[in-house]
């Protein structure tokens, strides 16, 4: 009689895919986006990525020690690195170092390890961290660089480094001479604070300006924000690569972008002056990043094929509602978290029809 525990069950072959290889490929898909980001907004993003990955690994190791799980297996599964990267991409490159520390800690501890580590968390850790930080430090989060190229003086290394590590809260309204090696003074109000096109669009609309006038402002490129459209385009490429590599199913990104596109198109027809064009919505803010990388996080998204379609529509619609009527400029992060809390309900009612079921 063979001892029960060491009976090997039937499929004796495996196609060799592992969790860490999946996560690695997700990071690869993120690289084009990060490069574009680097090109337009300077090395701020790279520092933020380093910071958040470092913090994430420390916290992950700490939590695994607390849950006395073997570090060797779980630290290499790369899920903490992906969470950290996504988090760094959502916050502003100029945000101080302790922002990414608090965000990553909150995300990983409360949204992931408290539920039992990888696979059990209903909420996406990166988004939870981002929203926690957004709600706690709204001023700092609206503090974006300008898409003026890598080597422009306001984006170069020394400036961003001192901003991240030493600066207290920079007062955007004053025009302060920041040039260390006394190059030209920046005095344009927006140059320092620099709102994303979305925030800028929303503030102007609320002050009853026409969209056509808003678009004339220097920060708008042809269909999104000047730098932003290319970054979103890079994320789009990364996302399509992931679908091709069969890491994520096409259902969620297509439904998210589709529903966002349709609703904005409907409203755009209704009144072009108040409601921005669908392309603008798609290629601005975190839409592409969220649609391809955050919404499709397999652990927190819905698993049934039909459930994913409903999940995607919910994200698209809520994002549009929050963006246009809500207080927060980029509502897609909230939309993902709301949809995450609805996932158990969706999964319960979208059970697949089994073969031969009437």
């Amino acid at each position: 009689m063979v001892n029960k525990l060491d009976i090997i069950s039937s499929p004796h072959k495996h196609d060799g895919s592992t969790v860490s290889s999946v996560m690695l490929r997700v990071c690869l898909a993120l690289v084009p986006g990060i490069l574009c980001y680097l090109w337009f907004f300077g090395i701020g993003i790279v520092i933020q990525c380093m910071l958040s990955i470092g913090f994430a690994l420390i916290i992950e190791a700490l939590m695994l020690k607390l849950r006395h799980r073997s570090l060797r297996i779980y630290l290499h599964d790369g899920s903490a690195i992906v969470t950290a990267l996504l988090f760094a991409l959502m916050i502003t490159p100029f945000s101080p170092w302790w922002i990414s520390l608090t965000g990553v800690t909150f995300g990983l501890v409360f949204a992931k390890h408290l539920y039992g580590g990888l696979g059990y968390n209903p909420f996406n850790p990166a988004v939870t961290g981002y929203i926690f930080v957004l709600l706690c430090f709204p001023v700092l989060m609206n503090h974006w660089p300008l898409p003026t190229g890598l080597f422009n003086q306001s984006n170069n290394a020394t400036y961003t480094l001192n901003k991240i590590f030493s600066s207290a809260v920079a007062i955007p309204s004053q025009s302060v001479d920041l040039s260390i090696d006394n190059t030209t003074v920046i005095n344009d109000v927006n140059s320092l604070s620099g709102a994303t096109p979305l925030t800028h669009m929303q503030t102007q609309i609320q002050s009853m300006e026409m969209i056509s006038e808003i678009k004339t402002d220097s920060m708008y490129g042809n269909f999104g924000g000047k730098g932003w459209e290319w970054i979103s385009f890079a994320f789009l490429l990364g996302g399509i690569g992931m679908i091709w590599m069969k890491i994520i199913s096409w259902r969620i990104p297509v439904t998210v972008l589709g529903s966002l596109f349709l609703t904005s198109m409907v409203f755009n027809f209704y009144d072009a002056d108040i409601y921005a064009s669908p392309f603008f919505h798609l290629f601005s803010g975190g839409t592409m990043l969220c649609a391809f990388f955050i919404a499709t996080d397999p652990v927190t998204a819905s698993t049934t094929p039909r459930g994913r379609i409903i999940y995607g529509c919910i994200i698209g619609l809520t994002a549009y509602v929050i963006r246009v009527w809500g207080a927060f400029p980029d509502g897609i992060a909230f939309a993902v978290l709301i949809a995450n809390s609805l996932v158990p309900l969706i999964d319960r009612y979208t059970r697949l029809k089994v073969l031969g079921e009437s």
């Binding site: 063979v2 069950s9 039937s10 499929p11 072959k13 089994v354 031969g356």
Partner: protein, 507 residues
């Protein structure tokens, strides 16, 4: 009528490794030292031995009687002496032992007298079934379902299509392929006999498109009323539900049988053995087995049932090696074997020697849905895993865990290396055990009620005639009074007798 083929959901494109053995002619395996025949080589009630230890049996002689409807007789694979009827390890995941008949071959291999039936067409189907049953024929595709039960179902309800399944979707296995190439006439004749037995309107023989020689061999012999179909090679196309969906586009009702949609399916090897049983009266005593993988001379063998596995392996040049494992069946649904002494049974179609699967650490499930895309039964493996893991058996049943055919596609693609099939087997056997436990509990409650009732009855009977003494709880004082009273009464009686003769002493 050319049927256009349909696709089934999911499935895997596996690299087939069939070229190792599919062009080598199958050879007859010599007589082994000992023949071990388990009494239960089929789904159903084990057969009952009708011979004693020490008897001399001839080849093909019935040595165990069928016991009930879903059961088949057992036949001696060769002539020899029965040396033991006892518990021997049998093919089972945990190698449990079951009662087997052990025969020591005498080398003469003498046939007993067998009675072939003549023109099968004139014989009415019911009698044909009895012949098939008496020759002990089960489904040789791997399930081992008694063939006559399927035929009987066929007679009772209208059979629209009879499908003969030659689709070998598991990698490495080529026993059906070789059988068709070498004995195509047996297969075609057998198919016609089964068709006559079930009175099927259409008849189809399905072969995989990566078995061209087999297709040619059949195409030459197939008459117009039997349809020959090439099915695209995709694992698990050979499973019953999937093949029916591919050929007819109909879906077998969940939890139901193929007969409910008028389809009967038999394996090619079953058809061949039906031919041999009906025309030559030979019972099922040998079958084709593929010996492949890490052996010197991998090939197909025609093996007598009951031959130990180690015997066949040695015939193909196998030397034990501890980082190799022996698998009974294919790599996807096969059973790991640690003790190679176990015998070959009617459902063994392949012996595979494969490098041991490196111990992979099972990571938590990230619900990525890769398993949903490959599941041929359109189940939700990650939800089944979630409920099986947390012992939530009712939920698992609500997600149709009993529809799972354990094909192994989900475990194959799972990035977290979770042994999903073992979880589902655990859940299924746990549910079955739970049901057995509940029946046992009801049985025990009934006996306990009877016990209590009888106990009360006894008490009632006792307390009727001796109210106080029978009642244990009545207080001691009441008992004392009763005894004193009794003593007084006896003294009075004695006193009266004494006063009569010697009145004086009584004062």
């Amino acid at each position: 009528m050319a049927m256009e083929l349909h696709k089934f959901h999911g499935g895997l494109k596996l690299e087939t490794h069939k070229t190792i053995t599919d062009d080598i002619v199958a050879t007859q395996h010599p007589l082994p030292a000992r023949i071990i025949l388990p009494l239960r080589q089929h789904i159903g009630i084990p057969s009952e031995p009708i011979i004693k230890v020490g008897d001399h049996v001839l080849k093909g002689q019935t040595i165990a009687r069928a016991n009930g409807y879903v059961s088949i007789p057992l036949h001696a694979s060769t002539s020899g002496k029965v040396i033991d009827i006892g518990d021997y390890p049998v093919p089972h995941p945990a190698e449990l032992s079951a009662t087997c008949i052990v025969i020591e071959p005498d080398g003469e291999d003498k046939w007993c007298d067998i009675s072939p039936t003549h023109e099968y067409a004139s014989v009415d189907p019911k009698k044909l079934q009895d012949v098939i049953r008496d020759c002990g024929i089960t489904g040789l595709g791997g399930a081992g379902f008694p063939a006559h039960v399927k035929l009987n179902e066929g007679v009772r309800n209208v059979v629209d299509t009879l499908i003969i399944n030659g689709v070998e979707c598991e990698p490495f296995i080529t026993c059906d392929d070789r059988l068709i190439q070498e004995k195509a006439d047996y297969v075609v004749a057998g198919t016609q006999m089964i068709r006559h037995a079930v009175q099927a309107k259409h008849c189809v023989i399905a072969v995989e498109d990566d078995m061209p020689e087999a297709y040619e061999a059949l195409a030459k012999l197939v008459s117009d009323d039997i349809e020959l179909i090439k099915v695209p090679a995709r694992y698990p196309a050979g499973s019953e539900k999937q093949l029916i969906q591919v050929i007819t586009g109909k879906e077998v009702p969940s939890g139901g049988l193929a007969i409910q949609i008028g389809i009967v399916m038999h394996n090619v090897a079953t058809a061949a053995s039906v031919y041999r049983a009906v025309t030559r009266g030979e019972p099922l005593i040998s079958r084709y087995v593929t010996i492949t993988g890490k052996v010197e001379a991998p090939r197909n063998l025609q093996v007598l049932l009951g031959t130990p596995v180690i015997d066949c392996l040695k015939a193909c040049g196998y030397e034990p090696n501890d980082n190799h494992c022996i698998i009974l069946g294919g790599p996807m649904m096969g059973m790991n074997v640690t003790n190679p002494e176990i015998p070959i049974t009617k459902t063994t179609n392949c012996i595979l020697v494969e490098k041991k699967k490196n111990v992979t650490i099972e990571m938590p499930c990230i619900r990525c849905g890769a398993c949903v895309d490959v599941c041929p039964i359109k189940l939700l493996p990650q939800q089944l895993y979630w409920h099986a893991r947390s012992d939530n058996l009712e939920e698992a049943q609500r997600y149709h865990i009993f529809d799972c055919i354990e094909c192994g596609c989900c475990s194959y693609v799972c990035p977290s290396n979770i042994p999903l099939v073992q979880y589902y087997r655990y859940a299924k056997s746990q549910i079955a055990a739970e049901e057995r436990r509940r029946d046992g509990a009801d049985h025990a409650r009934a006996r306990f009620m009877a016990h209590e009732a009888r106990h009360d009855q006894d008490q009632q009977a006792d307390s009727d005639d001796l109210p106080l003494l029978a009642d244990p709880e009545s207080d001691v004082q009441a008992k004392k009074d009763y005894i004193d009273e009794a003593v007084k009464r006896t003294r009075q009686k004695r006193g009266k007798q004494q006063t009569k003769p010697e009145d004086k002493s009584g004062k």
